[in-house]
Symmetry: C2
Subunit: 496 residues, 2 copies
């Protein structure tokens, strides 16, 4: 018992350092004055190094080995130890100097990306991006891989995921979704111009808070702020924050980022505070994380029942803009399918083409087949090929996403995986909770939230994505559930 | 040179950790959701322990000893090493466990104090305060002292200061200031009711930002937020933040907290970024820090030249409230002398009675002569004796200040010391810069700021308060400059 206590105490201390890094990043994206960037990069790098040093402490490794051989350790604690040992062995592969250099490069890249995007100039981002890519390719070798260097990165976000498996999933997308979107394209387009009337910021903000509250997000243990790229951040289960963006000329931005980040936050708020720092107190994977945000955003938030409750409220807030459009018109408008340059503004079908493109670009980058200079052209050619649109400039192209500037390669695919898990989970939830949709129309989301807490949130990272998926739905990830959802919903909307 | 680099690198890493603690505290007071308190206390404690562990690392101590004996180290670097060695020897006296416990107790006390103050209930604060006092008394013994256990605490904020010296300074206050305030009291009171009309928050906020900007505060390397107790915080010279409070029914609050915290921030923004982490990159003492805030608040901000520039602007912003009062009326109103319960709202003369009271209460607490239960009565009896006012409740009494909840005992006296240094510096600045006041009336504060940067800010902590005072003014702290300032200004205002 003494050693288990040491184990928990050590991980909680590491988690404290990571929380501090969390606040430094949160502040960097929201409140930090412009001049603070260089010193902030220093501080983040020092903390990243410290966290890594503490986690890979040889004594801690010895303790983990001992505990993993200890027959008296079982149940959830055994799983904790297993996961921690896996983490330990992985992080041990990184020299602390590498971690610090990565952190420094990331801060520099983030600041360069912000500037590059705002000035629509890829050249500003080029050199920090090249530094990052160099480190990322080194990282593949440090971590090791069996099939493809990209697998080492995928595994960081979605444990055990491989490019070959991913390509199999995307093959399904390519075969079924591409054709389905083609059929939709031939139908008359829905009207959504009224979504882009003038929606005052304060009213949007207030409505977003109301939605979050109703979903079950606990403001006593969270807060919302404005940032240019919406995100959620968990410092601990009692301090889980979200950000949103508000575009006064487009109602979509705020609504979808609020619900999406809210979904992420509900997951983190659903982790047991007593497991702070332990794998049992962490999210299972980014794919599962994304399944939660997507389920709330798409299955719930883009569903009709949700808006049976919220639309009259929205109409009364924005009566000038929405008074002349009924629920059905609004429902169709917000589910409009149309190829678009910006991933975060994509509909839930063509969204996955954006992810396929990024996955192919990242594969080429990590393989070393694509020079940094050539990334924009390669990117643009893919948009032409898959979505049939010409990217007008890099701001609407390769500079749109924050991820690379955060050093995240192999992260994008989790968005598609999450969407597909979400569809699969949702069919099961609907089967378990026959009154769920009618609850939604009364603004009651508690049964679904409880279901997610019990079935997904509560296990933390003691199960893998696929284990969770099997336990909850009786099978592994199966893309056909997503297609079933898509066909059902969009056949009605587009009258197929 | 290699070892000097190691020395600088090590201190910069410690400073990175301290910056992280800074952001956690800043966030705790401004943006943290209520539920986050317990985990925040954990994280702060872990970081405090880490910072202490790194600073008191034996290898670092050995390096300092070696460098301090190294004849080739001289100039500013020699002073850096001397100060660091002094710090090292002091912090080495604390076990890391004590530092962590202190940090935990402080977070708990801070949260209890917030609740106690908002509910006007000393009982809520009592037990965390008792824990803190126990630790503080232990701290006296850990640090050691020659004359009085309180000296160990004074020395933390004002190096080398002793209670006996402080009592000498306050004896001057008691002899001259008490009588002077009595004379003022016999004169007809100035009218200031118009300061407490309704002043809308947004307009106050915007005016405050304008004042800060004009003073020379660099918003590219800083920002202002709202907090219940205004403070300034330097993470590094490129990220120096201030907070203010806005009372819509009293214009004084915002104005004085803006200028005061702005004064602190100008000092921190004036430290050389290349000295980040070194004593040369830190403020000399809290007394000198306060001299900067007070100089801007009182000598500059409560002066007539400052308002020759700003009052027409203020009048145009609040024309309904101020249109019927000219500059002279405003000048008198904002300099009204009147005993009052709240230190932070006190005029610049009776302010020092508040400090004397706190010093006497703290002396009794640290001596162990005063039980926690008896603090409110003791406090109230002093207000009756020195200011002739009956404290109506603890919110307006012993619960008003944040300091004890931060674990700060021995901090208050630096406020009076700072005011007295400020008066002394200002007379010298006025002698050196004959056009200073006329510059002010045109909104130009740059000559004064440059003078402060050159004479006070630039040396950082390589000189003591008294060394700075001697170098700048030709003598040590001399209370008579403050009295000269007070007599000159208030004789005119009250027609003595």
């Amino acid at each position: 018992v003494k050693t288990i206590d040491d184990y928990k105490k050590h991980l909680a201390r590491v988690a404290d350092i990571n929380s501090a890094s969390g606040i430094l990043s949160w502040d960097q994206e929201i409140y930090m004055p412009p001049g603070g960037g260089q010193f902030r990069a220093r501080a983040l790098s020092t903390l990243a190094g410290l966290s890594h040093e503490m986690f890979t402490d040889q004594k801690f490794g010895d303790l983990l080995e001992r505990l993993s051989d200890d027959a008296s350790v079982n149940g959830v604690m055994k799983k904790n130890i297993e996961k921690s040992l896996r983490d330990y062995r992985r992080w041990k592969k990184y020299p602390t100097s590498f971690v610090e250099e990565m952190s420094r490069c990331v801060s520099e890249a983030f600041q360069a990306w912000q500037k590059a995007k705002s000035e629509n100039d890829f050249q500003i981002f080029k050199s920090p991006l090249a530094n990052l890519i160099k480190l990322k390719r080194e990282e593949s070798d440090l971590l090791g891989y069996k099939e493809h260097p990209y697998d080492a990165h995928l595994d960081l976000y979605e444990p055990d995921m491989k490019l070959s498996v991913l390509k199999g999933v995307f093959e399904g997308v390519r075969k079924e979704l591409v054709d389905f979107v083609k059929i939709i394209k031939e139908k008359p387009q829905v009207e959504d111009g009224f979504m882009r009337r003038h929606y005052p910021k304060d009213k949007q903000w207030a409505f977003g808070l109301e939605v979050l509250k109703q979903m079950g997000y606990d403001f006593n243990c969270g807060r919302q702020d404005i940032s240019s790229h919406p995100f959620s951040l968990s410092l601990n289960p009692h301090d889980v924050r979200v950000t949103t963006r508000v575009d006064e000329e487009d109602l979509n931005n705020m609504i979808w980022s609020c619900i999406h980040e809210g979904g992420h936050a509900l997951y983190e708020q659903g982790l047991n505070p007593e497991n702070f720092g332990l794998p049992a107190g962490e999210a299972a994977s980014l794919g599962i994380h994304e399944s939660q945000s997507r389920l709330w955003e798409n299955q719930v938030g883009r569903g009709k029942s949700f808006w049976k409750y919220f639309y009259p409220k929205l109409q009364s807030v924005f009566s000038e803009n929405l008074g002349d459009h009924n629920l059905d018109a609004f429902y169709k408008a917000m589910n409009k399918v149309e190829p678009n340059f910006i991933r975060t503004e994509a509909d839930e079908l063509t969204y996955h083409f954006h992810i396929m493109i990024r996955t192919e670009v990242e594969e080429a980058i990590i393989s070393g087949d694509l020079a940094v200079d050539d990334i924009p052209d390669y990117w643009n050619s893919k948009y032409d090929a898959y979505l049939g649109i010409k990217v007008p400039d890099n701001r609407k192209g390769v500079l749109q996403d924050i991820h690379w500037s955060h050093g995240s390669f192999g992260y994008f695919p989790t968005y598609s995986l999450g969407s597909f898990y979400a569809a699969q989970f949702y069919f099961k939830a609907a089967a378990d909770l026959p009154n769920m949709e009618s609850d939604f129309s009364r603004g009651d989301f508690s049964a679904l939230l409880q279901w997610l807490r019990k079935n997904v949130h509560s296990v933390g990272r003691t199960e893998t994505s696929e284990e969770i998926c099997h336990r909850v739905t009786g099978e592994g990830l199966n893309f056909s559930w997503f297609m079933k959802y898509a066909r059902g919903k969009y056949s009605e909307i587009y009258g197929l």
